[in-house]
């Protein structure tokens, strides 16, 4: 893919010369064209709109083919994006077309997060291009550019004004992608209502600071037509892949009981204008704008986030190399600091653990002492008791001996008495 370089700076002191003959470098544009034709072109369109509003049908009608279309349900829990890539050819020009459709947009009850998925998708495409650009070994000419070149925003034909969701979404996207708003299913709005509706939409966009894509008017060859078309925005379109017989010709149209809406009839709808503007005249400009304006903005923001600057605090320009060096040093320093911190915390932890162990040792010792004391106490108590018991036993045995003696004595006495008594007899 041939990319325009971001601004060739013309030398201030170059003199302009007149040629005395035909040199031949007027064939340069042709060489460029040949090269790019051989390479093939690439174009990515994002279609944002409610389910069933006619995004797929319009794409089919615009590119005169039948893309594989799925009918989505209204009950998707979140907004999703579905991308499909096709290879088209017209005369000898090859086009790699990617159509990205939103799925489930506008169906949820709470639509606060609806725009986020779309923004993320666009950023992802920018990111992958940025990564490729920053690679050491890169092959940009072979790279499949998936950045969104044009965003068709489908507005529902309510006839009053934009919906709140439309406003919120477009505000979030206007700095990331070329927004081309279209009024979908325009065969439900009559001519007078359409004029009022378009004015209302544009005034709402302007008063809310939404920057939609304006067709370029700096190139004299297309300036006039672009200026006129800018005044017809947003385009009111009708899409149809069915053909109806109108005056001996088969044309793309929608057949109603009250008439036939012809898609390519300029007094019926703005489809032809959209096709001309989007494809025939400004496709290359859309790609250029995406690269030079939206992508550059993204790149600048991303690199600034990472800490890169074009000028240092003294307002002198610094090259990327210096910034890299500075970053590397910073990174190393950071690494070292982290290592130090880890060491410190390790030492700290060891100390703590040591302290804890000592503490528990001391506690154990104390307990041991205490137990020993208790043991000694109990032992002395037991000794006391033992002594007391022995004393008792001793005194008891004494008493017993005394008692036995007494017993024996009384027995003897009794015997004596008895003998005495019997002796008398």
């Amino acid at each position: 893919m041939v990319l325009p370089e971001p601004g060739l700076r013309m030398e201030q002191n170059a003199r302009s010369l007149t040629l005395s003959g035909h040199v031949g470098f007027d064939s340069l544009p042709d060489q460029l064209v040949n090269k790019s034709t051989n390479q093939g072109f690439c174009f990515n369109i994002l279609c944002i709109g409610e389910t069933g509003i006619g995004k797929s049908t319009l794409m089919d009608t615009l590119f005169n083919t039948n893309f594989e279309n799925f009918e989505s349900s209204h009950f998707e829990p979140q907004v999703k994006l579905r991308a499909q890539t096709y290879d088209l050819q017209e005369s000898n020009v090859r086009l790699k077309l990617t159509v990205v459709n939103t799925v489930g947009f506008g169906d949820q009850m709470n639509k606060k997060e609806s725009y986020q998925h779309i923004v993320d998708y666009i950023d992802t495409q920018f990111e992958s291009f940025l990564q490729e650009e920053l690679k050491i070994r890169r092959s940009l000419h072979n790279f499949h550019d998936s950045r969104i070149h044009a965003c068709l925003y489908f507005i529902a034909p309510s006839g009053h004004s934009l919906k709140s969701l439309d406003l919120v979404t477009m505000k979030k996207l206007d700095s990331k992608v070329n927004i081309i708003p279209v009024i979908a299913k325009a065969d439900t709005i009559s001519k007078s209502e359409l004029h009022k509706f378009k004015m209302k939409i544009m005034s709402e966009l302007v008063s809310n600071g939404v920057q939609i894509y304006q067709f370029p008017i700096d190139d004299e060859t297309v300036a006039t037509i672009n200026t006129t078309m800018n005044g017809h925005l947003p385009f009111a379109v009708v899409g149809s892949t069915e053909e109806v017989n109108v005056g001996n010709k088969m044309v793309k149209a929608r057949q109603y009981p009250w008439g036939v809406v012809q898609v390519e009839n300029e007094s019926h709808c703005d489809f032809v204008k959209l096709r001309e503007m989007l494809i025939c005249i400004n496709m290359e400009d859309l790609r250029e704008q995406t690269h030079t304006r939206h992508y550059e903005l993204y790149r600048r923001c991303k690199l600034e986030e990472m800490g890169f600057k074009d000028t240092n605090p003294e307002c002198q320009p610094i090259s990327l190399q210096e910034t890299y060096e500075a970053k590397r040093k910073e990174f190393q320093a950071d690494l070292q600091r982290q290592e130090e911190e880890m060491k410190q915390s390790f030492v700290q932890k060891v100390k703590e653990k040591e302290g804890e162990l000592k503490e528990s040792e001391r506690q154990l010792q104390a307990k041991f002492d205490q137990l020993k004391r208790q043991h000694a106490e109990e032992k002395s108590v037991l000794e006391e008791k033992k002594r007391a018991l022995e004393e008792e036993i001793f005194s008891f045995s004494n008493r017993r001996a005394a008692a036995e003696l007494l017993n024996a004595q009384t027995l003897n006495l009794k015997k004596d008495k008895d003998r005495k008594n019997t002796g008398f007899l």
Partner: protein
């Protein structure tokens, strides 16, 4: 005179008719008609749906007036955080001596904000409020002049740009189907070809059944109605939801001045049956089923509300013992758990005693016979 002759003469005495046994109550319908014309009718219609679907235009087309002369529409920016409002327009219209007090309840802001969680709450609250007020009035002491502000019918507008019902449609209808008669409509039907209309209607009917939404059902016609009427009724039922187009302007078509929309490719006539179902809707809503809508509101939705209300109040009473209530409550509160248990126990005891008694009786009987 023979009995026959006497009978004949008695019959010929009445001068009003030729029937043999004429009483005269065949004039009752006329009396009802006369009284109702004198009293006048009232009807409250609610329209709900997102902005820009043609609700106001349809109401104007239905009643052939301009109800929305000075309304101010909000910008997209103002609608980001908009809440739903309820506005009422009341007009008195008369046709051939019959007076109708028509109230249109509008719901601006429904479905317009970025976050539409529970956006139907103000609407259900409004409907409940009207029921509550009628309940109080009905239970009050002076019931002479009760104003009936209950919503009799809700026209819900489904956008034709999608493939069928969306989550917000389903949630809204489910929140309201037991409080009001819902009639779903496909709005702005002039953006759909006849095939697309049929597909969308089938889809919507399927989804309504699948999600269990109870929309207003036409009453079955009596078996003794004539065939033509039955055929019309069948067609009407198969046509729901009606695909409607409205218009505020009059255009010239086929030599006549009709309400319609002028396009570069043709003229859509609002009252042309092959263009849209507007005529069917008008006939159904105004000419044949207006009174039935009122009846269903009174007999079904209001009664449900009333029963629910009373149950809640009496159970609350049992809990709180004495509560100051603005309406008189029936003196029989539902018994609480404790008393119920006791009652059950006593019941069982009684049953047991009865069984024992029976057994004893049997035994005695056997003894006697022995």
């Amino acid at each position: 005179m023979t009995t026959a002759a006497r009978y004949k003469s008695r019959v010929f005495k009445s001068e009003d008719s030729e029937d043999k046994q004429y009483v005269g109550f065949a004039t009752l319908p006329n009396q009802v008609h006369r009284k109702s014309v004198k009293k006048g009718f009232d009807f409250t219609l609610m329209v709900a749906g997102e902005s820009g679907l043609g609700k106001s235009t349809l109401v104007n087309s239905l009643f052939l007036t301009d109800l929305y002369k000075d309304r101010k529409l909000l910008n997209a920016e103002e609608r980001i955080n908009q809440t739903v409002e309820i506005t009422k327009h009341t007009v008195d219209i008369e046709e051939k001596g019959v007076k109708l007090k028509l109230t249109i309840v509008d719901t601006p802001g429904f479905g317009d904000a970025v976050n539409n969680n529970e956006c139907w709450k103000p609407i259900t609250d409004y409907i409940d409020q009207q029921f509550e007020q009628y309940f109080r009035d009905e239970s009050g002491l002076n019931r002479k002049n009760i104003l009936d502000n209950r919503v009799h019918c809700c026209l819900y507008f489904i956008p034709p740009f999608g493939h069928g019902l969306r989550p917000v449609d389903v949630e809204f209808m489910k929140a309201l189907h037991e409080k009001v008669n819902i009639i779903p409509l496909v709005a702005k039907a002039d953006c759909l070809t006849p095939n697309e209309i049929k597909k969308l209607k089938d889809r919507v009917r399927d989804e309504i059944e699948r999600f269990g939404i109870k929309v207003y059902q036409f009453p079955e016609c009596d078996s003794d109605e004539d065939e033509e009427f039955k055929q019309m009724d069948k067609e009407l039922k198969e046509c729901t939801p009606f695909a409607v187009i409205g218009s505020n302007t009059v255009v010239e078509a086929r030599g006549q001045r009709v309400r319609g929309r002028l396009y570069p490719w043709g003229i859509v006539e609002v009252e042309n049956q092959s263009h849209c179902d507007f005529v069917k809707l008008r006939n159904m809503l105004i000419r044949s089923h207006m009174h039935d809508l009122k009846d269903v509101t009174c007999d079904v939705h209001y009664e449900n509300y009333r029963a629910h209300c009373i149950q809640e109040m009496t159970s609350k009473l049992a809990q709180d013992n004495r509560i100051d209530s603005p309406i008189p409550i029936l003196p029989l509160p539902t018994p609480d758990a404790e008393t119920e248990r006791l009652i059950k126990m006593k019941d069982e005891e009684l049953k047991r005693m009865q069984e024992m008694l029976e057994k004893m009786q049997q035994q005695m009987h056997e003894k006697d016979t022995c």
